[in-house]
Symmetry: C2
Subunit: 326 residues, 2 copies
């Protein structure tokens, strides 16, 4: 089978990440909104104890995740699922492992208010930021036509606009999709061939090599409780449908080498192990060691140019700014 | 009294922050060492649970501090003293509130190993980083002449080199010291005059407007236990000398508007209150409200250009990299 054939097939299943970040519907980016969104993304005063920001669990420098099985909230409580990467999340069909948020805007407000994550009820988040003159000014500039620009809705909008810029173009695989046959090694191409032929690409496809659909964890064979904690029923908890038991959003595989540990449980530390488990549970296929190695060689080509973000200077608190919980 | 007089007097007491960061003795900066130091500064894998980095408590975007009375360590424990700013700390005579570290290099290793801060013993920090191929490479490049470049000593050296770049030149007060009489408002100049004449500058002087000496908290009048927790004896705990009871390093006042709350206890949220308490406890002077306002107007001129730091991309963990504590 020729390489052209593989490239054609790849192009029918996947697409390259564009150089420029996408535009959000009903939430256009302006320099002022983008600047505000970046400030909010790094803003620990959105957490109850003022020590956790979006970036604490979705770190710009760590593939958009935090490298822990599950994250640690403001009070030391552990989250229920592995923190998904923020990188390229704008391209995913929905947000969170169970897709309970339709888009980045809806997602952004979740962890701020979640009592075991940042622990700040929406009305308090607004009160907090209204107590910081620099934010009053920044929201006014970002939402200039609004009488009351500093709202929870606008916090979410601004964060979403910033997050939409966190894309990672120019991975070797993107270069390949654009026609550079040398961007992938022979081994990576064999891995891509296996990835398609074995059926991985049935779920992991599209621009994000995943992120576009839902699937039960355990299509063919139920994974061990190590990887599928029985008390987490996945999307069933969102839809209430029994068919959605243990159903999760298929995660993106972009930048996968940067975001161990894997699975919603965060209990697979080795990408090879994760690939083998996927073969067995989702495809009913016992992948050989060499096959796994080749697939991983392909997955390594999904790491793109990481975002270059200048750390924002956050506006100063004043004596009347609401203070952190002790 | 003419303004020239004030400027001359100011020049005899203070100096401007130079445009270029200073060179550390015996630890010259190279691009490779600087790049490594920045990575380490943002590296949560130096903490036991992999969720706390230097930047967690000394945030680049928050005046180099964290805006809490005391910081929260990896296990949720609170530190004993307010996190001092990292900004311009290279100019201070010693590090920590009690001066127990002679310089930035010696300081850098403290919080990593401190059992209530990052909780990683030095040998484990080295083992952790040796388990990450990107760091093995980066230390080799940063310390090219050493047989075993990845050591705790070199972690400290690299972090110190990065921290030495975190200076904030070009504050209005620096422009004034350089001869721009218009850089300070009339009110700020009156505040400067009071700052000198009332005696604040007896301790808060030099390039960092502080940071150059030790003084008892309560030279004239003992502060209330709200501001001086009786169980913290300050420098006595370092030197063992009774004379050093309640003695602390005089903190820098640079960027002071960004780094509330104040004092080693972090219990003063209002800069005006802090100035008034200082007047009473250190100088035996009851400062009037107008005097306090003027002094604060001067202190506001100490906020310089904040560091513009591009968030570093951290090297990936591999399956054998030591994992975080749960």
């Amino acid at each position: 089978m020729g390489q052209d054939n593989l490239l054609d097939e790849a192009r029918s299943l996947f697409s390259a990440i564009p150089k420029d970040p996408p535009v959000l519907e009903h939430n256009p980016a302006t320099p002022e909104k983008l600047k505000l969104g970046k400030m909010l993304y790094f803003e620990p005063r959105l957490s109850k104890t003022h020590n956790i920001s979006c970036n604490s669990c979705h770190q710009i420098g760590r593939g958009g995740a935090d490298g822990r099985p599950t994250s640690i909230g403001y009070s030391g409580q552990r989250g229920g699922r592995n923190a998904p990467t923020v990188l390229n999340s704008v391209f995913s069909t929905a947000q969170f492992w169970d897709g309970r948020a339709a888009d980045l805007k809806e997602q952004a407000g979740g962890p701020i208010a979640n009592p075991i994550e940042m622990g700040t009820p929406p009305e308090h988040a607004v009160e907090e930021l209204k107590g910081i003159p620099g934010y009053v000014e920044a929201f006014g500039k970002a939402f200039p036509d609004e009488a009351d620009p500093l709202t929870y809705d606008n916090i979410e909008k601004a964060v979403a606009v910033f997050e939409a810029t966190l894309t990672t173009p120019d991975a070797p695989f993107d270069q390949y999709l654009k026609g550079d046959e040398n961007a992938l090694t022979a081994e990576a191409k064999e891995g891509l061939r296996l990835f398609v032929d074995k059926g991985c690409s049935s779920c992991h496809n599209g621009i994000n090599v995943g992120g576009g659909m839902y699937a039960p964890f355990g299509v063919v064979e139920k994974p061990g409780s190590e990887f599928l904690p029985p008390n987490d029923k996945g999307r069933l908890q969102v839809t209430g449908k029994l068919d959605d038991a243990y159903v999760f959003k298929v995660p993106t595989l972009r930048n996968i080498t940067l975001t161990s540990p894997y699975f919603h449980s965060g209990h697979a530390w080795d990408l090879k192990q994760a690939v083998a488990v996927m073969g067995a549970t989702q495809l009913g296929t016992e992948l050989g060691a060499e096959e796994v190695t080749k697939i991983v060689a392909f997955l390594r080509t999904l790491t793109g140019a990481q975002p270059q973000v200048t750390y924002p200077t956050l506006p100063a608190s004043i004596p009347t700014t609401p203070r952190p919980a002790p």
